[in-house]
Symmetry: C2
Amino acid sequence: MGRWQPEARTRLERAAMELFGERGFEQTTVAEIAARAGLTERTFFRHYADKREVLFGGSSGFSKLLMQSVADAPVGATPIDTIAAALATAGELFAERLGHARQRQRIIDAHADLQERELIKLASLAASLAGALRQRGVGDTAARLAAEAGVAVFKIAFDRWIEEHNAAPLSDIIRESLAELKAVTAGN
Amino acid sequence: MGRWQPEARTRLERAAMELFGERGFEQTTVAEIAARAGLTERTFFRHYADKREVLFGGSSGFSKLLMQSVADAPVGATPIDTIAAALATAGELFAERLGHARQRQRIIDAHADLQERELIKLASLAASLAGALRQRGVGDTAARLAAEAGVAVFKIAFDRWIEEHNAAPLSDIIRESLAELKAVTAGN
């Protein structure tokens, strides 16, 4: 421990994903995750509230990056383009993590309570994005619609990214899905 | 019992909502709901799996009506207009239930687990709507985007309907919110 402390979180995540893959999610205990990472349970709990949070631990960094991008968007940008650009930027966080994202999705798909947690995270992401748009002076309904539509685009793009063989980069699929949303809502 | 059996479900719902209002949601038991309705607990469980389901019991009828409307839409209708027309039609189910919808929302807003159940119902509604569009030959991504966008429109319109004083009919707010989504995604 000690020396590599800043990497503890990454090591715990890697150990957890290995064990989830080898033994299954339910069968894996926090004690086993900590042992595999060469760390104590106490260190585990300093980084994650429980083993489920290992699967969702990235969402706060993702969310922070999104809010920052929305706040930094050019003044004249439309709400939907602001959201889409932020999602494409934040999507780059996942660039090197396709294998991880696929494994994580397989675990979530197999557990109803994890699917619920995922829905809650997405709903709270949409609420934060709507708040960030309101801060930029966007009206309440337009802010909520752009945020919800943006999160839907992200979710659908993310699914395509992990499902397709040889998928394009996530950011490209996000931009493509946004274009498709625009076509769909334009009634084409 | 017996004679008014077809109304049992309605009586149970009314009794439950009265008691939730008087005593709070947690403090109300199924036994009390049944007693207030003049029915047995056994009858309660024939209609609802638990007291939470009283709050969500309308969702299957709503969902069925939606699917039917999508299936019956004119052949040339665009995916988003198909969804929006179906939501506006199904929205008429709520026409006489504004007071009920407001009380229900107050209870849900106060309980995290009920909010989760609401999110799950909406996600499964979006999945069903996407499936109904695919059945009409709409491509997978377009079907999912139109369904998710439609459910977002519905959710935001529903919130406005129950929050505003002297709100317009729900179906009108749905149509208005769809127009706003179209404007938002067109970048206006």
